[in-house]
Symmetry: C2
Subunit: 100 residues, 2 copies
């Protein structure tokens, strides 16, 4: 998955050891797993050459990072001009998210 | 590495099978390797759940993707509050780039 961070989310990520992002759509701090329960425990933090991209290696709770119920958000691969789904839905999102 | 694409760069990437990005700093199409010679031959293209991020799996020319002369831009890992360089410089950037 790819998500955004700001200074606050990065600080909390490093302090707690759990991935925290900045939700641009909700305009607030996003503690990964706060709704789904599928937290990310941080194992390694890398930064790129110009220090504006971070890679977190994580232990993914529930083996589900994607809101579609899949392990990865990158579950579609391009083949002959078509996007082919390669990764299965592990859990129905309706069972993951219980919004009122 | 992480870079930006626009419609034109993605189209050329798919047509040529070589990674093409959009350079925001230079404000123009960036054919990866056009200066360094270290092209990226695309092996797989994946897209994420909301279709705004692409992962290219590539065969990296010269085994150098980073302008610092390293394989990866993500050559620093966080250890005890310090960024530690883990990956070696394969080739001196001065030997890679021959700007006038």
């Amino acid at each position: 998955m790819l998500a955004w961070m700001n200074r606050e989310s990065l600080r909390e990520t490093l302090e707690t050891g759990k991935a925290v992002y900045w939700s641009r759509s909700r305009n607030k701090i996003w503690r990964k797993g706060e709704e789904s329960g599928n937290e990310q425990v941080v194992r390694e933090v890398r930064i790129d050459c110009d220090a504006d991209v971070i890679i977190l290696q994580v232990e993914q709770g529930g083996n589900i990072a994607c809101h579609t119920g899949r392990t990865s958000c990158f579950y579609r691969v391009l083949e002959d001009g078509h996007w082919i789904e390669t990764d299965p839905v592990i859990k129905d999102p309706a069972e993951i998210y219980h919004r009122e």
